[in-house]
Symmetry: D2
Subunit: 242 residues, 4 copies
């Protein structure tokens, strides 16, 4: 239990580098840096970052080999992520690496690959209020949270969210404009665990909110790989006499 | 409730056409024909078949447009199924078409696409006994079945079966050689419903077994599309004043 | 499929008989009568009603023996329902009878018995707007519905709703006052199926709303018992040689 | 994460005290003592035991107040457990205390209360072989286990096991006599987590098996309470202006 979790925070990191985009003001060093600032304070975590425009998107074999949990933020450039890297990440998740998909990452190649559905939804950028309610107060990802928390300005995501029914549903969002959304969803895939967490628009300081950061911190611990049995596949000799 | 369900039985149909393969003796007209013989007797079903070596694998736009439920049997030629057809079938399932994946179809492109995992498993061809236990006697797919049924000679499929946790688990198989398997699994994907059913090796008369045929018949009714709401996706105006 | 479903609509029927209670104006003949008026029009349903103050609460052995699906509305007199009747209903549900629990029935003995939890929640009577979003458009209970529907005046029920995670989550409600609620939930229990449906306050004409009535109608069909295998319990001889 | 988990091992402790019962030879100090011997070695656990014939069954308010996780083994004397104690344990579980129900505890009052079903099953005492397969290798309770493990002599429990569909299904047992069983099942109830684990007949040294003990050890960690939000119930003021 005392081992260190190696976290890699992946970010598309395009919006924040455009001088005329609000994200450049809110996150001059990128959203990944804001999340890193919080996780680096956790004694059980070791944090690195990786971004789209690095070679191999920063996800070289060496980096993946040293990653226990990967977080994913992408938006405008999902299609620029190479299929080869997506294949590698997919394989790693099924082999036990945790994956935390953030906000607009719902449309990333890796999330859609793992879900098998379109992952489509409704959206609106109106800076409206969002209130996230904890639905499952028995789940480790809700540790240390209040019963609900609010984001004063958020992009709206609304149902129908086209995902497989989550294995565990943790948060439901209420939006000022009249919609609801399953904002925190867990799935087991292979030996890996996947968490989708809705908050995170690039133009609002969502990743500086204490509750949002606490959820990501908890999710990293929940998704960290374990020494569980590696399944044997293929042709198999009988264990009993036939 | 009195409407007719249009079923398309898709079969790779390669084993059965090889004169030196046991399947050619057991199913001279193909496994799809054996299943069709049963379903055609159902007053609420209208049955057609389609096979790999037909143009567009028999799954033209016209055929898909007239298909309520598709069954899928493939084995040696999964990779010969064109990605374009898989894309179309995937889209149809998410839009409400039922899909029933049989036996070695666990490795088909369409099933792996929908599941997001490897769908790998253990296997053994030793003609051993399989006993399928009903785990959920509240489910319509178990209608008319006994509490368990046996197949005297079956290929073994063993856990770990690398699938997402089923939304509903209906059957667990016991194998003579010492393994177990989740043999009947339901998932909701988009507006569609997907059922995986394990029995079905090409060299044993599995698709002439009354219980196996009853399960497929029940699954067709369960998976038939309904007049459920079509989700609206994309940019969305607020329903409440902001 | 063409058989008739025998529905018994159970109602506490106290509020409506108090001359000074708004329910006496909205439902002079009781909420059960409003629901009955809709279900009686369905060619596949045969409807009867039963109320708390009848002998054995109207749920005699004879009535239960002829009931395929039971709906339950109770509020102020949950504790007046005899444990003996609850035992009988519980047994019937596990043996296949469908159960549809409405609104304040969340606190009924039978629902709490089946759930194993407190079934507690937040509530507020302020006549505010409720909007129910369809979360699972692959489910038969959503047939014929729009993507969302509204109730202009409703009692608020808010999360945390202390229930076991539903096997299928169909509706999430948005409330004007800022809360959300899992308003349509399915569970399998024994050979029976249970549906909880939130709308239904006694002082608003909720059971005259076309969408609400459609949901109840669909739920009756979904919950109707099937000819599924009756499990064998107890001491059991081996099926294989030991 | 470094805190100590306070475990209370509850045992009926009747079989073992009968000189003519095989259990008195296998577990002269009781099954609870065998489990305690393993858990006491864990640096993150503090273990105590409690038995039926102690005052208040050893589960006084003081003991319960200091219990993070409770394990439960009962068989012949389920009905001697007082309803008052069951009420207290039930309340504690919903408030976050972990509960691990072992073997014949499937028929205990507390397990049936939490499940809402009969929890009935098939059984046979023939000392046959059981093989437990890991079904979900992404779950912390499977940590450190092989892909399957065997018990050379076990009582058989067979499906249909009348429980609600588990939130997570971890083990399926294969029995020599031809049956299967869902042997490791997880549920969330209230703020608490419940694990049912099948192995454990009183006449075989099941609780001296390294894999069985490892599962119980893992389950204790999984079920330990967390600092999750305590839900607020009852009448509630609006968070938004109505």
């Amino acid at each position: 239990m005392s081992r260190v979790i190696r976290v890699t925070l992946w970010n598309e990191f395009r919006h924040e580098r455009k001088a005329d985009h609000p994200a450049s003001k809110v996150y001059p060093e990128g959203m990944h840096s804001a999340i890193a600032a919080h996780l680096q304070k956790q004694p059980d975590m070791k944090v690195r970052t990786a971004t789209l425009d690095e070679p191999e998107h920063g996800l070289t074999d060496a980096v993946l080999a040293e990653t226990d949990v990967l977080t994913w933020w992408g938006h405008m450039a999902h299609n620029e992520v190479s299929d080869e890297i997506v294949d590698k990440v997919h394989k790693k998740v099924l082999d036990g690496m945790g994956l935390i998909v953030l906000h607009s990452g719902h449309f990333s190649k890796i999330f859609r690959r793992l879900m098998g559905t379109t992952c489509d939804l409704k959206w609106r950028e109106a800076g409206e209020k969002e209130r996230l309610w904890v639905i499952d107060p028995s789940h480790p990802i809700t540790e240390g949270l209040p019963e609900y928390f609010e984001l004063p300005q958020a992009e709206m995501y609304g149902e129908r969210f086209d995902i497989p029914q989550p294995d565990e549903l943790l948060f439901i969002s209420w939006f000022q404009g009249g919609e609801v959304f399953r904002s925190g969803c867990c799935w087991h895939r292979g030996r890996g665990r996947v968490f989708y967490f809705r908050p995170g628009h690039e133009s609002y300081p969502i990743y500086k909110d204490a509750n949002v950061l606490k959820v990501i911190e908890n999710a990293v611990r929940w998704a960290a790989p374990l020494n569980t049995p590696a399944p044997v596949f293929g042709n198999y000799q009988p264990l009993e006499k036939l």
